[in-house]
């Protein structure tokens, strides 16, 4: 791609996030941004390290609960609560990642899935802290009080613009990681772990660091999600949540970074339309997308578009 064209997606992306809550119902716009960041975190592992985590709900949910609890009990401004959540997710990812990266491929998927279920069970049992099946209700959302600079923070429209910088920071971090020397090593490990090891790279340690970084980003997204909804439920830790993030990555295009947010926007919007029509079996949509994409469309949206662009340019 020509150099001027390379910034086209970035410019387009920034315009889209800037106008999103004006075009869509603001709570939907908030969901899109949170899920997009979550999916990018999963893509960081799947697309750039070759590890399919089917348990990222553990980090999304742990951060959501942590952020919710911090905001509720300390009255901390929401960005601090969200960062506390992301930190908690990263801390949790150290032991989980340490154990999980011992296996690869399908085993890695199953092991991460099981660890996420462990977190789900613990949250369900630890009612005193998490509220069990009721979840956390009425999580306060503050930043210099409830009306920073004359905007109403309880209004999702204004909150969107207050949370956006944090989310963009997350996207920027993912972009930096992928395009850093560290990211190149991850890709080398994905493509040929034996060669990477032979070249002297400690493969397990690289995978673990990638895992923790990805978990921190998923945590950032989860914390923002908790603040957007002002409640946290057990669903945030359930394996269907992990699956939802994975389907976004696969639909968008594995290893493209840009694909996941596009797919997140499409799926969140479709689910919103379905729920407005009082159709509750969202699994038919998510599952159907999984089956169709995996069977017919494995490059995903972004991968297909990129391939078309390349073909036109060449010939």
């Amino acid at each position: 791609m020509r150099k001027s064209l390379r910034f086209l997606p970035l410019a387009a992306g920034l315009v889209v996030v800037a106008v999103l809550p004006r075009v869509l119902y603001p709570p939907v716009a908030l969901d899109i941004v949170c899920w997009a960041l979550f999916a990018v975190a999963v893509d960081l592992l799947l697309g750039y390290t070759g590890l399919l985590s089917f348990g990222h709900a553990a980090f999304w949910g742990t951060s959501a609960y942590t952020a919710g609890l911090v905001a509720e009990h300390t009255g901390a401004p929401f960005p601090l609560a969200v960062l506390a959540g992301a930190a908690a997710a990263a801390v949790l990812a150290v032991p989980v990642g340490y154990l999980s990266v011992r296996r690869t491929g399908i085993y890695f998927a199953m092991v991460t899935l099981a660890f996420a279920q462990l977190m789900y069970v613990v949250a369900n049992q630890w009612r005193g802290l998490t509220g069990g099946e009721n979840g956390l209700q009425d999580v306060p959302r503050t930043l210099f009080g409830t009306h920073p600079f004359g905007t109403d923070l309880s209004d999702p429209y204004y909150f969107y613009y207050w949370m956006l910088p944090l989310a963009l920071l997350g996207f920027l971090a993912a972009w930096r990681i992928v395009h850093s020397p560290f990211g190149r090593v991850l890709v080398a490990i994905r493509d040929n772990p034996a060669r990477a090891r032979a070249l002297g790279y400690p493969v397990h340690r690289y995978k673990l660091v990638a895992f923790v970084l990805s978990a921190a980003l998923a945590g950032l997204a989860g914390g923002l999600f908790a603040m957007s909804h002002q409640f946290v439920t057990l669903d945030t830790l359930h394996w269907t949540t992990s699956g939802q993030a994975v389907v976004m990555v696969v639909l968008g295009g594995i290893g493209t970074l840009w694909g996941a947010p596009v797919a997140a926007a499409i799926l969140v919007r479709l689910q919103d339309i379905l729920s407005l029509a009082h159709f509750e079996e969202v699994g038919l949509l998510t599952g159907g997308v999984f089956v169709v994409v995996v069977l017919l469309f494995r490059r995903g949206i972004w991968g297909t578009v990129a391939a078309l662009l390349r073909r036109w340019r060449i010939g």
């Binding site: 399919l52 089917f54 154990l99 999980s100 011992r102 296996r103 690869t104 491929g105 399908i106 085993y107 998927a109 199953m110 092991v111 899935l113 099981a114 660890f115 279920q117 462990l118 069970v121 613990v122 049992q125 630890w126 772990p193 034996a194 394996w239 269907t240 699956g243 994975v246 389907v247 696969v250 509750e280 079996e281 969202v282 699994g283 038919l284 998510t286 599952g287 159907g288 997308v289 999984f290 089956v291 995996v294 069977l295 494995r298």
Partner: protein, 291 residues
């Protein structure tokens, strides 16, 4: 002591379900290299099948017991032919994702048609009482389920180790190319093996119907526990999946009786973590060839 025995029997019954499900997963994985996420959904369909047999067709438990697994087995074979087969040459992760998608579809189809509420299913009349052994009493149905699970696992073991079909399947599991070179059409065997694994999950579902409220999500969380069982035992190991299934069942039952409730629920995952530390390939598994 009476309590201890009772809990052990309960553990063996639950272990029987884990063992049957893990066994089906292991057989399918061995032959197709597919981890079938939809296994829990097929288990749920088994229970629902038994429930619908009674409600719609008036067929009793004893009819459902052979009928539902056969129907599900045929359905599984159809699915293998239609979709799973197309992906077997790719990274196994694609089939994992595909069967995950199928799980969501199957679950929500049932939910959409029959709602999420639990449907009671009565224990068959002949098995309603209790069995006495000395001073101990056990519910007859649970003893039946345990016996049936052991029988089913033994039958599969016999099929795999003592028959020509089993020999072909084991050979194709170990060295597919070499088996093909000996003139055996390996691809022809993948469909029936998948159907067989699905039927086993369906059988477990029918057996579970009288013990649990039949509902669309009954397989959803169970499958994750079975995954943990399979990781502990070593995926692809037939003996490992059965032994670990029963072992986990008993351990969980004991924990339920003698420890705070959270312990029983997290036990299987904690054991999995310990096994990953100590023997990453699983208790009965062999080391993967290093990647």
């Amino acid at each position: 002591m009476a309590n201890f025995l009772e809990q052990t029997v309960n553990g063996l019954v639950n272990g029987g379900f884990y063992a049957m499900l893990a066994l089906g997963l292991a057989v399918i994985f061995g032959m197709l290299k597919v981890v079938n996420f939809a296994h829990g959904a097929f288990y749920m369909l088994g229970a629902f099948g038994a429930y619908l047999c009674l409600r719609e067709l008036g067929l009793s438990f004893w009819w459902a017991l052979p009928l539902v697994p056969v129907v599900l087995g045929v359905l599984g074979m159809g699915l293998e032919r239609a979709v799973i087969h197309r992906l077997t040459r790719l990274d196994p992760l694609y089939n994992f994702l595909l069967t995950f998608g199928l799980t969501l579809i199957l679950q929500d189809l049932v939910k959409w048609r029959y709602g999420v509420s639990a449907n009671p299913y009565e224990v068959p009349a002949a098995l309603r009482g209790t069995l006495r052994a000395g001073s101990f009493e056990f519910p007859a149905y649970r003893v039946f389920v345990f016996g049936f699970a052991v029988l089913a696992c033994a039958a599969v073991w016999w099929l795999l180790t003592r028959t020509r079909i089993g020999m072909v399947v084991r050979a194709a599991t170990e060295r597919p190319e070499l088996t093909g070179a000996l003139g055996i059409d390996v691809a022809r065997w993948t469909t029936p093996v998948f159907g067989f694994g699905v039927a086993l999950a369906g059988l477990a579902g029918v057996l579970a119907a009288p013990m649990q409220a039949v509902n669309p999500l009954m397989g959803a969380d169970l499958i994750i526990v079975v995954f943990a069982v399979v990781v502990i035992g070593g995926l692809g190991s037939i003996l490992g999946s059965v032994a670990t299934g029963f072992g986990v069942g008993i351990a969980v039952a004991w924990a339920q009786a003698y420890a705070p409730p959270v312990v029983a629920q997290v036990l299987v995952f904690v054991v999995m973590a310990a096994v990953l530390l100590w023997r990453p390939a699983g208790l009965f598994g062999r080391e993967e060839t290093p990647a």
